[in-house]
Symmetry: C3
Subunit: 237 residues, 3 copies
Amino acid sequence: MNQDSQITALQQELATLKRQVTALEDINAIRHLQYAYGYYIDKCLYDEAVDLFADECETYFLNGIYKGKEGVRRLYCTWFREHFTEGYNGPIDGFLLDHLIMQDIIHIDEDGTTARIRARCFMQGGVHRSAPRKVPNFPEQNLEGGIYENIFVKEDGIWKIKVLNYNMLWQADMPEGWAHTEAHLMPLTRTFPEDPRGPDALLDHAPETWPRTRVVPFHYAHPVTGKMWQPVPREKV
Amino acid sequence: MNQDSQITALQQELATLKRQVTALEDINAIRHLQYAYGYYIDKCLYDEAVDLFADECETYFLNGIYKGKEGVRRLYCTWFREHFTEGYNGPIDGFLLDHLIMQDIIHIDEDGTTARIRARCFMQGGVHRSAPRKVPNFPEQNLEGGIYENIFVKEDGIWKIKVLNYNMLWQADMPEGWAHTEAHLMPLTRTFPEDPRGPDALLDHAPETWPRTRVVPFHYAHPVTGKMWQPVPREKV
Amino acid sequence: MNQDSQITALQQELATLKRQVTALEDINAIRHLQYAYGYYIDKCLYDEAVDLFADECETYFLNGIYKGKEGVRRLYCTWFREHFTEGYNGPIDGFLLDHLIMQDIIHIDEDGTTARIRARCFMQGGVHRSAPRKVPNFPEQNLEGGIYENIFVKEDGIWKIKVLNYNMLWQADMPEGWAHTEAHLMPLTRTFPEDPRGPDALLDHAPETWPRTRVVPFHYAHPVTGKMWQPVPREKV
């Protein structure tokens, strides 16, 4: 091979390697973004959470869809913040809402501008007996388990949340536990503006929660067989 | 340095870098594989879990060794699936078995075809009071902590589980808690085919479980001293 | 572009890519180091934990600062080890102290020799009813949540812990739970050598713990806005 061909080959290999390295950096950036979200939610830093979203965005919460920055802000900064901290953007004494995030599986699309994550959330929430103010309709103390299947978008080199799709699967009051309690968060019934904290739209069917169970569809194919997961009807067993 | 030497140097550096990038991609792929396993086990997707294994594989569970695809399938698709979901490959209502996986430490062998992981599992399991069917010998609700030390193999470019070595360390009924309960999973006593759900072989000694404690040996040397961990006999203290 | 320019361009791009790949490897190494720490603490392997530190190091624990290898050793190998395992370097029966680490956000400084991590710790601790020896002043069983903001240093190619800054945020006896208990670990009042297990210095103000709440400052800017987090005084609400 002559020098010109060798240089061309090197340039091509380097370009391939660059794309691979960018993808690896992107995976780390997306993991950090998802984890940063968890740390903000922990401490009722709702402005910071909303700032993680792209302008074109959606949040799925229970059976509600909050659309665009305005809808997402309504969920976090109106509903959650007014409900949990009476409007203060930060933690208040006696209120716990730890939002542990783990087990992230991230894939980046070929063009490098869209990414998907599956991640797990395990929460501890509650209000201390000493707290002067009780959060209405909030359990004294509970655990929650859920699955994220989120979509991220890269805009001007910065990854942002495009779709936050949180699937609350179970809640359990403590110490009674999951054998003795049902999820207390109920499906939403009204949209905005009828409900000033409501979503922009409702799903046709409210996702089932504990003691019902369901599989949150995987954004990725099976790592070995390459097949996408298909539900098996229970009556077929 | 002349152009030929410069090109040769570039080719060598690029080859080194390629191996490093492949190793980084492999670490992500192995993490995803281990995490995917957790999501399948969560939801009783036992066919999908078994499909993650290489043909030559083993699963260590309690004091049993399940050998080859057939043995591994016997564990997941006969024992677990018949026991937990009466043979349905998916979640049933009122049955919780969340399988949180985290804290993974992954190392890839020099040849790039074998890898080892240490990871932690934290489980929440139980059966809701409303469930029409109680799982036999399964606690109403419990927590479990364990350590994986698994081995992966790359076959035709795809990482698969070669050895799944799960070390259940403690189980605790809730709300009694770990101070007041012992691990309820007992060592196995019979092998297949005498026990149609049994392992292919038994370990000489059943690994100890709570309230006994033990260190699951680390596949890696100490990150700073480079020494492999050696147990210190307790009588030596 | 002539061959010389092409070769120069390739050399420069390769050098950039090398730095990126080194940073990616460093992030993995730091994650492993932090996770390895968790596995050692789990099992009372205090010598191994101390060996993860650089010679110039500090540990922040409660309101105490333990300085240098000697101070750090006093914390782990004098206080913890004598208190928890009567001096044995390893797990004893009936004593649980699982130290789950997750949700790590890692950044490496430009020069590649200093790194910072934010990570979360979720602990399960306790002493089994069958244990012949009760650990003094240690709860029968409890949960703990905390945040690490640690600093690492690379010395001779090996990452080590330079500053371990653990922020215990809440503790909850089980089954009473976080609504009904306060953190039981109290601020330290005396330094070494007056207290033979004491820290080298005390913080001016003891960090608040449950049912008080606080934000552990983030080492990183907001991933999208690029702003560093600033606390909002609660009276300003």
